[in-house]
C-alpha cells in the first residue's frame, strides 16, 4: 500500500511518465472465498473483496461497466465496477460456475458443474429461459459466432454437448476424450482441452467428431487466443506448462514450464499474460516476447482473472469504506478516480445499479 500511495503522490505531482500504468488485476481466490484486487505495478493487494463461498469465473459486460463474478457455492452473482473495485450489487443466482454472454449479447449461458445443469438466461433481465439437466460435470462453454449454438464440455462424461439456443434443446453429444475442460471456438472448429489426456482435440462443430489431436502435455486444460489473434496459449495441469500454438496451423511454437497448475489467463495492455496457478496460490506474469516469468502470492486456489486498464493507482480506502456497510453496497458514493481510455463514466455505473421494476427484480433474483 505504501508504494501505491507513493505512486499516487508522484502521479499527482506529475513525476511519473505519461506511460506509467497501474492496472487493476482481479483474482478469484476460489478456496479463500475472496477476490484479490492487485495493482499491476506494485503487485500489492489494494483491495480484498469477500464472497460467500467459491468464486471461479468472471465476465465483463459489453459496456465494460460491470465485472460479473460467479460465486458458485454461495449462489450469488456479484457485480463489481472494474474501474474502482466497488461492489455494485450481489444477486441470488443458481450455482454460477462458468458463464459467457453470447456474441450477440442476448443470452447468458451458465454451467453448474456440481449440479449437472446448464442454465440459459436472457442476458438483459437475467430471466431464466431454460434449465437443461445434462450428464456429469458440465464445465466450460463456447458459442458459435452467430450465437445460434452453445457447446458445453461434460467433464465427468468424456463429452461435448451442442445445444441449439433457438429451441434450447441438445443437438448432439459426442465423446471427445477423457475429462474435457476448456472449449474455444477457433476458425470454424472447436478446440477442447482434455484434462485426462495430453492433447487438445480439434472437433467439428457439426457433429462433434474429433478431427485432429494436438499434443500439449498431460492435463491439457484451457485454450486462450492472444489479443492479436495470432497465437493460442494452452495450459496443461499435470505437466504444468503453457504451450504456444500458431493460431493458423495449430503447430506448437514454444513451451513454457510453469509449476503450480496454470489455469485462467488474462492479458494486460502490454500483452503480458497473467496466469492463475491453482495449486500454489500464486499468479504468474509472463512476457510473451521472452518467456520470462515472475510470480506473486494471492489467495488459495486462484481461478478466474481479469486485468482492468488504469493510469493511476487506486486511492487508499477511506476510513468510512473500511467499516461494515450501513447501506447496500450499490448505494456507495461514486469514487473519485480518473481512469484512462474508454472506461465507463460514473453515471453509467449508477444507472446499472439503479433499482429495477419489481417484476424484473424478482426474475433477476430467481
Amino acid at each position: 500500500m505504501r508504494r501505491a500511495r507513493l505512486a499516487l503522490c508522484l502521479g499527482l505531482a506529475g513525476l511519473v511518465p505519461a506511460t506509467a500504468r497501474a492496472d487493476l488485476v482481479y483474482v478469484l481466490n476460489s478456496a479463500d472465498a475472496s477476490i484479490s484486487v492487485i495493482e499491476s505495478t506494485t503487485r500489492e493487494e489494494v483491495r480484498r473483496i469477500p464472497v460467500l463461498r467459491e468464486a471461479h469465473h468472471l465476465i465483463l459486460t459489453p459496456d465494460r461497466g460491470e465485472l460479473l463474478v460467479g460465486d458458485s457455492g454461495g449462489n450469488e452473482l456479484i457485480a463489481i465496477d472494474p474501474a474502482s473495485a466497488t461492489v455494485l450489487k450481489r444477486d441470488r443466482f443458481s450455482n454460477p460456475y462458468h458463464m459467457e454472454l453470447s456474441p450477440d449479447g442476448k443470452l447468458l449461458v451458465v454451467t453448474s458443474l456440481r449440479r449437472d445443469q446448464v442454465d440459459i438466461y436472457e442476458a438483459a433481465s437475467r430471466t431464466l429461459l431454460a434449465r437443461l439437466k445434462v450428464p456429469d460435470k458440465p464445465s466450460h462453454l463456447a458459442y458459435t459466432p452467430d450465437s445460434r449454438t452453445v457447446f458445453v464440455t461434460l467433464q465427468g462424461a468424456r463429452g461435448l454437448m451442442a445445444i441449439d439456443l433457438a429451441t434450447q434443446k441438445p443437438l448432439w453429444t459426442a465423446d471427445v476424450g477423457p475429462q474435457p475442460a476448456g472449449v474455444t471456438w477457433h476458425n470454424g472448429k472447436l478446440l477442447v482441452g482434455l484434462m485426462g489426456s495430453d492433447h487438445v482435440a480439434v472437433v467439428s462443430p457439426a457433429d462433434g467428431k474429433v478431427e485432429r489431436r494436438i499434443y500439449v502435455g498431460r492435463g491439457a486444460h484451457t485454450i486462450f487466443p492472444s489479443p492479436d489473434g495470432k497465437l493460442l496459449y494452452v495450459n496443461s495441469r499435470v505437466d504444468s506448462r503453457i504451450t504456444v500454438l500458431d493460431a493458423e496451423t495449430l503447430d506448437p511454437r514454444v513451451t513454457w514450464p510453469l509449476p503450480g497448475g496454470p489455469d485462467c489467463i488474462a492479458f494486460d495492455p502490454e500483452g503480458r499474460l497473467w496466469v492463475t496457478l491453482r495449486w500454489i496460490a500464486r499468479v504468474a506474469v509472463i512476457d510473451p516476447k521472452t518467456g520470462e516469468t515472475d510470480s506473486f502470492p494471492v489467495g488459495r486456489s486462484p481461478h478466474g482473472i481479469f486485468v482492468e486498464k488504469r493510469a493511476t493507482p487506486l486511492p487508499p480506502l477511506a476510513v468510512s469504506e473500511t467499516l461494515p456497510a450501513a447501506q447496500p453496497a450499490h448505494d456507495a458514493p461514486a469514487p473519485l478516480v480518473q481512469t484512462e481510455d474508454d472506461m465507463p463514466a460514473r453515471p453509467e455505473a449508477a444507472a446499472a445499479s439503479a433499482p429495477r421494476p419489481a417484476s424484473q427484480r424478482r426474475l433477476w433474483s430467481r
Binding site: 469477500p50 456440481r114 477423457p178 495441469r237 495449486w279 496460490a281 488459495r300 456497510a325
Partner: protein
C-alpha cells in the same frame, strides 16, 4: 508474517499435490476430481498438524500432573492407531466423497424446487461483514449439534453398542479421543458434514472448525488432573469435566457431561456435573472385556456384532 506463512504453506501443499496426488489422479483417469483432491489434501495436512499440536499440548500436561500412571501401554498404542487412521487417512476421504455427492444431490433438488440453498450469512447479514463472528457462529451451532449426536450415541441401544468401544478404555489419554468404531466415525462425519452443509459453512473454514473441535476433544480426554476453575468449568470443557463422563457410572443412557467444547449445553439440558476435584477411574465394567483390551480389529468386530444384536432386539 502471516502472508509469508500462508505462501510457504501453499508452496508445500502445491508441491505435494503436483508431485504425488495429481499424477496419481491422472494415472487413474480421475482428473475431474483434482480440485476435490486438492481440498482433501488440506484435511489430511490439517489432521497431521492437529496431531502434532495435540501431542505438543497434551503430552507435557499428562507428564506434569497425571490422574493415574500409564501402566497399560498396549491400550494406549491401540488408541494411537485409531488416531492415525482417523485423522490422516481413509475416513475423512470417505466422508468427503460421500458428502460431496450428497451435497450435489441436495442442492440440485433444492434448485429444481425453485429454491437456492441457504447460507447463515443470508439469514444474519451482519455475519457477512464479520468473518470472525461468522466463524464463531458456525462453531457454536456445530458444537450444539455435536452435543445431541453424543446424546444419541448413549441413548440409542444400537449406537451405544458401537460407542461403548470409546468408553471401554481404562487407560484414558489424549489419544483416546479417536478410539471409535469405524461405523461410529462415519455416522459422526455424516452428521457433522450434513449440519455444516445445511448452514452453509464455507469450505475454507471447515477444516479450521474441525481442527478446533478436535483439539478441544483431545485435551478433554487427557490424563491430567486439571480443571478450569469455577467459571472456566462452565465456559469450556476441561479434562476434569470429560473424565467424569467416562466414569463407569456415566455409561450408556445415564451419562453426564456430553458437551464437546461448550458445557453450556449440559447446563441447559440438565446433564451437567460440575463437581470439581472429582477425577474418577474410567471404563465400562459391564461391557465385554474385548472392547477394553482387544486389538483394533477385534474391537471393530465385537462392536459390529453387538450393534447387529441390538438392532435385532437381542
Amino acid at each position: 508474517m502471516m502472508s509469508r506463512i500462508a505462501d510457504l504453506y501453499a508452496q508445500a501443499t502445491g508441491w505435494i499435490f503436483e508431485h504425488a496426488l495429481q499424477p496419481l489422479l491422472y494415472a487413474l483417469g480421475l482428473m475431474d476430481w483434482a480440485e476435490d483432491a486438492y481440498a482433501w489434501l488440506d484435511f489430511a495436512l490439517f489432521g497431521l498438524f492437529g496431531i502434532l499440536v495435540v501431542v505438543a499440548v497434551c503430552r507435557p500436561l499428562e507428564a506434569w500432573r497425571p490422574v493415574e500412571p500409564r501402566t497399560d501401554r498396549q491400550a494406549v498404542r491401540t488408541d494411537m492407531l485409531y488416531t492415525f487412521l482417523s485423522r490422516l487417512g481413509l475416513l475423512p476421504l470417505l466422508a468427503f466423497v460421500l458428502l460431496a455427492s450428497a451435497q450435489t444431490a441436495w442442492e440440485a433438488w433444492l434448485t429444481e424446487a425453485g429454491l437456492l440453498p441457504p447460507t447463515l450469512e443470508e439469514l444474519v447479514p451482519l455475519l457477512r461483514e464479520q468473518p470472525l463472528l461468522a466463524f464463531a457462529a458456525y462453531v457454536v451451532i456445530l458444537d450444539f449439534a455435536e452435543y445431541w449426536r453424543h446424546r444419541a450415541q448413549h441413548g440409542l441401544r444400537w449406537w451405544w453398542a458401537l460407542h461403548a468401544i470409546h468408553h471401554a478404555q481404562r487407560q484414558m489419554t489424549f489419544w483416546t479421543d479417536d478410539r471409535n468404531h469405524v461405523l461410529d466415525d462415519v455416522l459422526a462425519a455424516v452428521w457433522f458434514g450434513a449440519i455444516a452443509l445445511l448452514i452453509g459453512v464455507p469450505p475454507g473454514q471447515f477444516p479450521l472448525i474441525v481442527l478446533l473441535l478436535r483439539l478441544a476433544e483431545s485435551l478433554s480426554h487427557a490424563n491430567v488432573r486439571l480443571d478450569y476453575g469455577r467459571l472456566g468449568e462452565r465456559l469450556l470443557v476441561s479434562p476434569r469435566f470429560h473424565r467424569l463422563h467416562h466414569a463407569p457410572l456415566s455409561a450408556g443412557a445415564h451419562g453426564k457431561n456430553y458437551a464437546v467444547l461448550l458445557p453450556v449445553w449440559d447446563w441447559l439440558f440438565g446433564t451437567a456435573d460440575f463437581r470439581r476435584g472429582v477425577f474418577p477411574p474410567t471404563g465400562t465394567p459391564e461391557e465385554p472385556e474385548a472392547l477394553a483390551s482387544g486389538g483394533w480389529l477385534r474391537q471393530q468386530a465385537v462392536g459390529l456384532r453387538r450393534m447387529v444384536a441390538a438392532l435385532a432386539g437381542r
